[in-house]
């Protein structure tokens, strides 16, 4: 008769079974890696509407002399190259427009203390980047008040 093997306490492994835990942890890690949205480092430009008038004061009217209106014109042939005009003067690039705005910015406050706004009047199809660029230039040049000359937009198609 074969001799029964004697029970050896050191043969029994006391280690925990790690495999299921590692499986779960990996699942968790993959979930978080796929779903992660890092807190974005976004910024903002303030563009307040006239506080007590809503849009009433930003309707398009014929420009008056005391107003600075940056006209952003969309061109079908080159949608990325927005044309920029103030009055009859056309600017070849953003740098020239910035220099112009910087020069006139200190003159935008009247003797009575009123601030003359710079209005950004963009065509409907002009891309947002161009409008934000114009707004950015105004902020950098020290313009105190910037407004959008908003036309009544066409009703969206259902």
């Amino acid at each position: 008769m074969a001799k029964r093997k004697k029970y050896q306490p050191e043969d029994i492994s006391l280690a925990l079974q790690m495999t299921p835990m590692i499986d779960v942890i990996f699942q968790l890690m993959i979930f978080f890696m796929c779903s992660i949205h890092f807190k974005s480092l976004e910024g903002k430009l303030y563009s307040y509407l006239p506080r007590d008038k809503g849009m009433a004061s930003t309707q398009v009217v014929d420009p008056i002399l005391d107003e600075v209106r940056i006209k952003l014109i969309y061109s079908e042939n080159a949608p990325l190259l927005t044309r920029m005009k103030i009055g009859d003067q056309e600017f070849p690039d953003w740098g020239t427009l910035y220099s112009y705005i910087r020069n006139i910015a200190p003159k935008l406050r009247t003797m009575s203390g009123d601030v003359i706004p710079v209005k950004i009047d963009a065509d409907d199809k002009v891309i947002t980047q161009a409008v934000v660029h114009a707004l950015n230039i105004c902020k950098k040049a020290g313009v105190e008040k910037t407004e959008f000359a908003a036309k009544t937009s066409p009703k969206p198609k259902k």
Partner: protein, 175 residues
């Protein structure tokens, strides 16, 4: 040759402890860095503006009007082209652009005005009087290539709702 019994019992398994440590660290990091609260934010290529101020302590309840490019078909847009985040060609197809507020795609101007009015009513200068200006800020997060008239729609609705504190989302370009 006699093999020692003890040598046979030695474990040949990998030592998992350092790996588990690292994986736990990673999980803790990912759990802390994940921000599930900003479900309002849609993915857009924001316009770049170096004068943009950091949006450090935004009002958690602030309404965001996202202007995004979204098409219903599986195919890519035939017009919109980006390369490494740089716009090469904008999309001028009207129904590819959507205004999305809190996950809802806004179909009509009336709905947009309604949402902004509800939002504005939360902080009127004279509480309870919807005819007084609202101090509730609203952010417009528009894709850099979106046509401007969509922003005009939001401005119009905000004007009618007497919401005047508008912020335009922009990304500060790397220095």
């Amino acid at each position: 040759m006699k093999i020692k019994r003890r040598a046979m019992l030695e474990s040949t398994g990998l030592n998992m402890t350092p790996m588990i440590d690292v994986v736990f660290q990673l999980i803790v990091f990912l759990m802390l860095a994940t921000d599930f609260t900003n479900t309002e934010i849609e993915r857009v290529y924001l316009p770049k503006a170096d004068a943009a101020q950091a949006d450090d302590h935004p009002d958690k309840t602030r309404l965001m009007a996202n202007i995004i490019h979204r098409i219903s078909t599986e195919s890519d847009c035939p017009q919109l082209k980006y390369k490494n985040g740089v716009l090469l060609q904008p999309c001028q197809i009207e129904n590819h652009w959507k205004i999305v507020v809190r996950g809802e795609e806004i179909k009509t101007q009336e709905r947009l005005e309604e949402l902004l009015t509800i939002e504005g009513n939360l902080d009127r200068e004279v509480p309870g009087n919807p005819k007084t200006p609202s101090n509730k800020p609203v952010m417009i997060r528009a894709d850099g290539s979106a046509p401007f008239h969509l922003i005009t729609r939001v401005l119009e609705a905000a004007g009618k709702a007497l919401v005047w504190k508008l912020e335009i989302g922009a990304e500060k370009p790397p220095e």
